[in-house]
Symmetry: C2
């Protein structure tokens, strides 16, 4: 009876646990099935070069769990089959973010190979060592430590004015938007204006919440305030720092006009500051929220700075909305260990440092495209740039045949497209192949393609 076992080399596990784990895993994955025989404790101990007592303990543990049957004088056998479906039955569904292509320049995600995994894991570990009270349900609004740290951080980096009591920790911006939309509908604000084009996911979120959408055009200076004022909406969702996906910044005159509009209609501006930390040519413009904290709902996230996988975001709420929105949250949304880990990252300066590091890297990637002659539009900022083309669908199909995944403006228009362009997500490829991907894009783009027809 020869049994090949892969022992987990994790030194923190006692050896008998490692042996039991390995056998259990073999049963679970179907390599061992009832009533397969197991080696004698003596034989397995010799094979694994461990003490015989170690194997005896492992077998006792497995027998207690019902995985194996040990009987004095008889061969030890597997008692039952693994209960998970065999690995071959259902291969993991391909994730939506994985392209079949070799290079991927679609927008929306940062380079996750730059994620400070070790720093993060250390911070989570430190958080597990804090007061066990942290592991309870906690406050629906989020950990006070993180709200306090964020109040300072957002003020310092984005000019946001809001005390910790007006900050709500969410699991990302889309969840925050769903919560806002539902609350606003309850308050009688049933119409929402949205930029055209805008992120398609957000359209879906507000529609699900029961709001009626009014698209408002965007030009080189951002949202068209006159067109906004012509809608019946008293709420608008906007990306003032870096319009998604066109890439404009909302100009100073329009900022003032926008806030004046919100006051006039007794309404609110939802500021989606998804990549406000990333401005390459100069200091970022402050958040719109600074102009009127009673009219602007500020939303931010770590999805672009650290990774979408963090599922961490925040809202800075106007005093009037703070209570109605927070009251809708049953339990705190983001795991408190993660919240504590993030506050540690911010307080220790690691977060700022990571942003500086990624900012430098993304600026370099954008500069690389500019230097190669691609006529990118939009401000020097963020994780993506727009490349106007004559026929985006054709370019996307062509690129696909050359193993390059691209995305056009198509899905982001509310109705009829009013332009053709590729949204170049230069942040997405891993740092090891990023410049290869960018060069590949440049090579694909004949000058005739990149001028609007």
């Amino acid at each position: 009876m020869d049994l090949h076992l892969d022992l987990d080399q994790d030194a923190s596990l006692p050896l008998n646990t490692a042996v039991a784990d390995a056998i259990r895993h073999a049963i679970r994955t179907g390599r061992l099935r009832a009533p397969d025989p197991l080696p004698s404790t003596r034989a397995l101990a010799a094979q694994l070069a461990v003490a015989r007592g170690t194997v005896t303990e492992a077998y006792a543990q497995l027998a207690a769990e019902g995985w194996i049957i040990t009987r004095q004088g008889a061969t030890t056998r597997v008692a039952r089959d693994g209960d998970g479906p065999p690995a071959t039955v259902e291969p993991p569904a391909p994730s939506r973010t994985t392209a079949p292509a070799c290079w991927d320049l679609r927008p929306g995600v940062p380079d996750t190979t730059l994620f400070p995994a070790r720093t993060w894991a250390t911070a989570v570990r430190a958080a597990t060592r804090s007061d066990p009270e942290v592991l309870g349900y906690g406050e629906p609004q989020g950990r006070p430590e993180l709200r306090r740290v964020l109040a300072g951080y957002l003020n310092r980096t984005r000019g946001v004015t809001a005390g910790p009591d007006r900050i709500l920790i969410t699991s990302g911006f889309a969840d925050a938007l769903a919560l806002l939309a539902t609350t606003l509908r309850e308050l009688g604000l049933r119409h929402i204006a949205m930029e055209d084009p805008c992120l398609d996911v957000h359209r879906r979120v507000v529609t699900h919440a029961g709001l009626t959408i009014h698209p408002v055009p965007v030009d080189a200076h951002g949202l068209d305030i006159t067109a906004l004022a012509a809608t019946p909406a008293r709420v608008v969702l906007a990306t003032p720092a870096h319009q998604f996906p066109l890439g404009a910044t909302l100009g100073p005159a329009r900022r003032r006009k926008l806030v004046a509009w919100a006051r006039r209609v007794d309404g609110y501006i939802i500021e989606d500051d998804y990549d406000g930390e990333y401005r390459f040519d100069r200091k970022p413009v402050s958040a719109l929220q600074a102009l009127d904290p009673s009219r602007v709902i500020y939303g931010g996230t770590t999805s672009k700075t650290l990774a979408p996988a963090m599922r961490l975001g925040w809202l800075a709420l106007p005093p009037r909305l703070s209570r109605p929105v927070t009251d809708r949250v049953a339990h705190q949304q983001a795991p408190p260990l993660d919240q504590l880990a993030l506050s540690h990252l911010i307080l220790s300066g690691h977060y700022d440092r990571h942003i500086r590091r990624t900012r430098t890297e993304y600026r370099r990637r954008r500069d690389h495209l500019i230097a190669a002659g691609l006529p990118l539009t939009g401000i020097a900022a963020g994780l993506h740039a727009l490349l106007p083309v004559a026929d985006e669908e054709q370019m996307i199909a062509h690129a696909r045949t050359r193993s390059l995944a691209l995305m056009g403006l198509g899905p982001f228009w509310h109705g009829r497209p009013r332009g053709q362009g590729l949204i170049i997500g230069y942040s997405r490829p891993p740092v090891t192949t990023a410049y290869e991907a960018l060069d590949h894009l440049v090579a694909l783009m004949a000058p005739a393609d990149v001028r609007p027809g």
Copy 2:
């Protein structure tokens, strides 16, 4: 110039980073303010017993970040004040789960001092080492790895029948309930029956989603199915394994009747299996879902097994509901690193082991109260038991004066209370003081108090 600095002893940090962190922290917390002088590099190096170059590098880093000003030949000074509010302005708000009392026997949370922090942190660390794709937005339904593992686990431990494609990972049960309630309302199911008494948070969640609640009485055999059938509701939220808070198990006859009701009205049963893993006297009854996976929506969570702070839960959805519910989720709700960590815990057997360990501990605590003569009602299961009393408010007030936090049935009735009792959350106190807390409760209870008047 003497500057006291607490260097972070984390050996993974370079020394110059640790020095910079400590100074930055001193500025942020207001211990150093502009234009305070800093020691010379030589003096600080001597004081901290580090190389002078280490301090020079730290100063250079801080100067680059704008925290300090260094000038050749001049004293180095703090350049600006910390931007967080001084620590004294706003002390952390007391968490809702922290009682001012010394002993706390209110229900709803497990003993978080038993949380396997080291195993968890190791699993999170391992997850950060997997494919960086994991750090992206991923599938709204949740990581395929965890859904596959849960399909097997729930089948093995609770008899739940649902493939990975019908499992949705959520951030706890309350969030799942909010999602369900909103979806059901959209599908035209605007009435929901709920057990009376039931968890108050759930009432709030379904009300926010716009459903109308119909309370249904509970007796020693669980939910009254005849009363349920008299309501206009086609959806019911129930706790069949261990009614919260009264503690009954839904009997076999009523289980069959309940499922027949759902078929008859073309409706659904939401099964809140919040503590189904904890049965002390015998093998747990299977989940209701096993009787009819097309009519029962099964919901589970790690909030009672690991800690509420995990913010991890799951639904096993009937085929007809799988798509409508999942379509409402914009992004995966629970952080994927946590999802991978949990699948690792389950596959390696650590999760089962932790449940066995806590089950033994909670059983012991319950037995301790029984042995002391407290006439607990409800089945031998779960994290709480009911202690009928003549006047719960009086007992709670009395216990409070003796530093013991207790909770009564009061908040859980929909309308008029139909009984008086204390819900003894024997799982809550930390293992170090649990028996002290239980003995304290026993000492407080004069025989006259514990019999309903």
